[in-house]
Assembly symmetry: C2
Homo-oligomer: 199 residues x 2
């Protein structure tokens, strides 16, 4: 398996199934701005509410293969493993498919993810132990705490400013490395002074 | 950005450009069994050798948009940022595109990844600081050492055996949680005894 981060903004995602697992995946996808369609005769409250608010489209019937035709990502999350596998088998070669009931049947796994603003750490085990993936994610959440969110904004701002200066590669890299020191994450004053020195 | 792990086995990847960066990405993709085509008038030695050995296809000319037509993933890695962006602009909505020279122009980022057998930890920063992503990856490499490779094989073996027993959910989860204790990673004897108890 090959780890990538994908921009989901505007991408069509078809979710087969309207249970708790589907709803959990949908929440993350809506955050990323995906264009989500849920196809399921029943749906949990969250999904019904998102549909009412126009945040997603809910088609209240059993999924059909043609529903997935132009999907970028298909999430097969019904409680029927055979149906989920059938959706995976009928996907086009270039479509992304996650099969909740049996990830080996699809071509996409969802890692356990830790997000701190722009910092994203994703942990997966190729299905060997989803519980270990979650445990490692939780351990990393202590190590990489909330302070990273603001720190990443600082790093981003610095990067744009440093790039705009037209410096030689060595000088540029020196600055980009300097700001990796923990003191910049720990001290707002340090960050402010450094930004002033760049402006 | 949304982190996923993708099965690249047999997937068509078109790489525009034949330099060092292209070669580094290609190495990982070949490991994952992707069907790689490099299009570039020139290519570094590694790419030439892979082409000679039949591990990839090298087309020795400037890339054309039609080369990308049925690609699952396009890696725009020429030294010409305008050409790279043009490839991204002309990609179909559902194609995955990484633009090496300017990742914001594509829809895929490559995280800094740490692999220990089946364990995969991917770190990305939405481009805010690739250097921080690498630093965190290197810190994690010390924390999650080589011992995880064998440990993940053990966890996988246990999972298959535990699943095959037809236990109640609570009993199954108890066993799956028990093996997350560090002593199983640290002691081969502990692992052997546990596997014996399952068989």
């Amino acid at each position: 398996m090959y780890p990538i981060s994908v921009r989901m903004q505007g991408k069509k995602v078809v979710v087969a199934g309207g249970g708790k697992v589907a709803s959990f995946k949908v929440a993350l996808l809506l955050e990323e701005g995906a264009d989500v369609t849920v196809v399921s005769p029943e749906a949990v409250n969250e999904i019904r509410q998102w549909a009412e608010k126009g945040k997603l489209k809910w088609i209240s019937r059993q999924i059909e293969i043609s529903d997935c035709e132009d999907a970028f990502l298909i999430i097969a999350a019904t409680d029927n493993p055979e149906l989920n596998e059938k959706l995976a088998q009928n996907a086009k070669p270039n479509q992304l498919v996650n099969v909740i009931t049996n990830p080996e049947k699809g071509n996409v796994h969802f890692p356990a993810a830790l997000k701190r603003g722009k910092l994203l750490i994703a942990v997966s085990t190729e299905g060997a132990s989803p519980k270990l993936a979650k445990k490692i994610r939780n351990d990393l959440a202590k190590l990489y705490d909330d302070s990273y969110e603001e720190y990443l904004e600082f790093l981003n701002e610095c990067r744009v400013l440093i790039k705009s200066k037209g410096l030689e590669k060595a000088a540029k890299n020196k600055l980009l490395l300097e700001i990796l020191q923990d003191e910049f994450r720990e001290s707002e004053e340090k960050r402010r002074k450094f930004l002033e020195s760049l402006n």
